[in-house]
Structures are given as C-alpha cells and as structure tokens.
Subunit: 252 residues, 2 copies
C-alpha cells in the first residue's frame, strides 16, 4: 500500500476573469474529478493573471514537481491569449504553426468566413508539440512534454478531456465513500481522528452542513484500497451508531 | 496613472475536497469580487492539499509578495483542520488559545452541549493574532500580520468579509465595463488589440460565447480611471458599429 506510486498533476488556471471574480471557475472541479478517474491526483492548483512572467513561473514550478501539468485558458485568437507564447518561453523553445492545427482551422472556418491571420494564431504551438482533439470548435488543445494546454471554456475543455481519456498513465484511482450523519463534527472530533489512525491508507475529511434546521456532517473517506475503505467506513458508521447518531438517509 | 500604487492580495484555498473535485469552490470568486471593492487586486490563487508543508510553502510565498494574504478552509474542530498550526509554523511562532475566541465559543456552545476540548481547538491562533468576527457560527476568523484566515464554508466566509469591509487599506478599485456584441472574437482580434493599445491604463479581455444559435463575445474593459474606461468603451462600441456588428441587447 504505502509503496504504491502516486501519480500527480498540477493545474494552472490562466485568466484575469477568474481572479476578478467575474467568472466562476469550473475547470478545477471538472479536471480534478476527471484526473481521479485516470488514477492521477490533482496535487495543486494555481490561478494566475494573463501575464507572461506569472504563467512562466507557475508552469515551471508545477511541471517540475508533478507527473503532469494541465493549463486552462488563454488559447484563443485575441491579444489577451498569451498561453502558448508563455509556455514556449517557459520551455525555452520557439513557437511554430502546427500543420494539422492549420488544416483543422481551415476546415472549420471554410464555411465561417475563412482562415484569417487572427484565427491562424490558434494553430500556433510550442515547437515539438502534439495536438489534443477539440470536438466542439476549431482550435485544438496542445500537448508538449508533460504539459496539456486546454481551453478556458469548460464545455470545450470537457471535450478535450474526453479525447484524452485512457491515454495518460496513472495509478489506482483514489476511491471515496461518504458517511453522512446528523451530528456536529465538534462532538465526535476525537473519535474521527482515532478512526483515521486505526485505518492506515485511509484519510477522513469532515465537511459540516446545516439544513432542515439541523446540524450534520459528511465524512468523506478516501483510499486507493477498496477493502481498507470499506472497513474504515463500517467502523465509522458503527461508532456513530454506538453514539446514538442518525445516519443521513439517502447519503449526501 | 501608471505611478498609482496597486494593492494586491494572494489567496490560498486549503482543502483536499476542492482538489478532488467533490466540492465546487466559491471562495475565489467571492473574495476576488470583494477585494476589488476594497481597491485590492487578487493577484494569484493557490489551491493546496491538507498537508502542512504544502500550506507553509504557499503561505510564505504569497504573503511575501502581496500586500495581503487570505486563506480559506481548515479552521474547524477536526483532525483534518491544520491551517492554524501550518500558518504558525510558516511564521515561526507558537499556537496559543485566544481568550476572546474562547469566550465567544463558550457563549456559542453554552446552549449546544458546552465547550469540549475539540471545540476549544477553534480558539487556537498563531501567537500575536487578532480575531475576525464570525456572525454566523461560533468560531472566529483570524488576522495575523498581513494574513487573514477565513472559513471554508462560503456563507461563513461571506460574514467574515462583511466584518472586514472598509478596514483594510487599498487603492482605487479596478472599474470594469462590459461591451457585448454578436461577433466572433477572431473576426475583430486586430481591432481589439489596437483599441487596447490606443487606451493606456485600460485592459480588454475577450470572452466568447455561443447562445441563441449565434456566436458572440463579451469584451470586458478594466481600468482604475473612470474617464479612460468610458473613452475605451466608447471607442470599442463605435468600432464594432462601424463594422456593422450588433450590440447584445441588455448587455451580458
């Protein structure tokens, strides 16, 4: 168990609109869930502004200390789309027009006014890169080394993730089980910690809520070992029942 | 204009549940919007796991290079709540029980089963810290140096932000104006870049959308100078009209 290799990814969300609060990010949750299904853990996220130095720093730190790095945002046709240039700078390589990206854009824009210089910007990639299929719109995603450069628009990112499913090496997925209970987490904090310590390889997160006029909490147990996860969940449920606490019907 | 001091903040979101994708973060947008009203720009966000080393690294980097650092999450009563210990470690100070926090918790739990050891954990603060009022539940937020330690539950964080409103020094708020237009951003990319260059102190972000069967984009102009913002917005609207492009009725 403890010798098991854990595969990790970093995520760099690029965009002033997320930092300003104007746009609610949805890519962190979407990519976190998807990565877990690939057996890869999202280890750290950074949200940075549309500034080359900020992107270069985050990309170089995150790609060095994770198996993979995903980025979202900044790959459109306008002046504020600087992700490709920043990542090329981070890697110390030039920017080239990818012939297959150019062909895809030519096909996509054939009935949409033709491929202009601005649109051709979306065929620019760091030298040596491969493409990630975009089933939604014309501009592809980009893979260069261990970096996956994705769209900012969540629906387009979803299509790119779909195209990548099953193609990236990972380990065993982190499994989770939720025990919901009508109890204030502060009442059972000691038991909770003791239960976690008694089940190596399992982590228990505690997430309180207040609804229907009552205090409750979801206890999320995570492990890559299915049997250990089940044993921990059973022990926690039994301990809560022994304290006379009601489970939340229908789970979370 | 360009000599104007820009006040910045970093944000460190602490929590495995955000990285796993199980919980959708709402604090980035909430805090980004609130900071802007205080005249402070959210410059960078990091989402880190419930691990002390990860929190210490992010806290020390972000507090050093921003005027302020906000953190969310990990200040509850359970074993996975390690934010206070990690921030004390980052600052090289001890952890103490804050007498006013203890009193607040005693009052809150007087009718809720009393103040247990687990609940008293929520009165622990890095040595030298002040409290941030929590109008929603018992446990207060914490201010230590330029760090503001907030709850993870968005509604509780909202109350803490409310308590802080007007108390933190900032500069002029970043104003924004949205020009929505039925146009593909790739068709007007050159004009957009030229418009930004012609209006120093203004940035234009381009955010495409597809709805009602048509392609459009919101162009978000940002500036701290109201007159410059209005001039840039007028110029952009005129340029779009000259190209025969319809504004989006009712804005975004």
């Amino acid at each position: 168990m403890s010798d098991e290799r854990i595969w990790t990814a970093g995520l760099c969300v690029i965009g002033d609109e997320i930092l300003s609060g104007r746009t609610q990010d949805k890519n962190v949750a979407q990519i976190g869930l998807w990565l877990n299904l690939q057996g890869i853990r999202l280890a750290e996220v950074r949200v940075v502004a549309d500034r080359e130095e900020a992107i270069v720093e985050a990309v170089n730190q995150l790609r060095a200390r994770n198996d993979y790095l995903f980025t979202t945002g900044g790959i459109g046709p306008t002046h504020d789309d600087i992700t490709v240039d920043a990542i090329a700078a981070a890697l110390g390589v030039g920017v080239v027009i990818h012939p297959r990206a150019r062909a895809a854009l030519e096909a996509y824009y054939a009935t949409r006014g033709g491929l202009t210089d601005a649109r051709l910007r979306m065929a620019r990639v760091p030298d040596g890169a491969d493409l990630i299929e975009n089933r939604t719109s014309g501009a592809p995603g980009i893979r260069v080394g261990n970096i996956f450069i994705m769209a900012g628009v969540p629906a387009i990112t979803a299509g790119m993730l779909d195209a990548l499913t099953g193609t990236i090496e990972g380990g065993r997925p982190l499994l989770s089980h939720v025990v919901g209970c009508w109890v204030a987490e502060s009442e059972i904090a000691d038991m909770l910690g003791a239960t976690e310590r008694a089940h190596p390889g399992c982590q228990i997160g505690s997430y309180p809520f207040f609804r229907e006029g009552r205090t409750g909490a979801n206890f999320v147990i995570r492990s890559t070992d299915e049997a250990a996860l089940a044993a921990c969940a059973d022990a926690l449920s039994a301990a809560l029942a022994a304290l006379g606490r009601d489970p939340v019907d229908g789970g979370i």
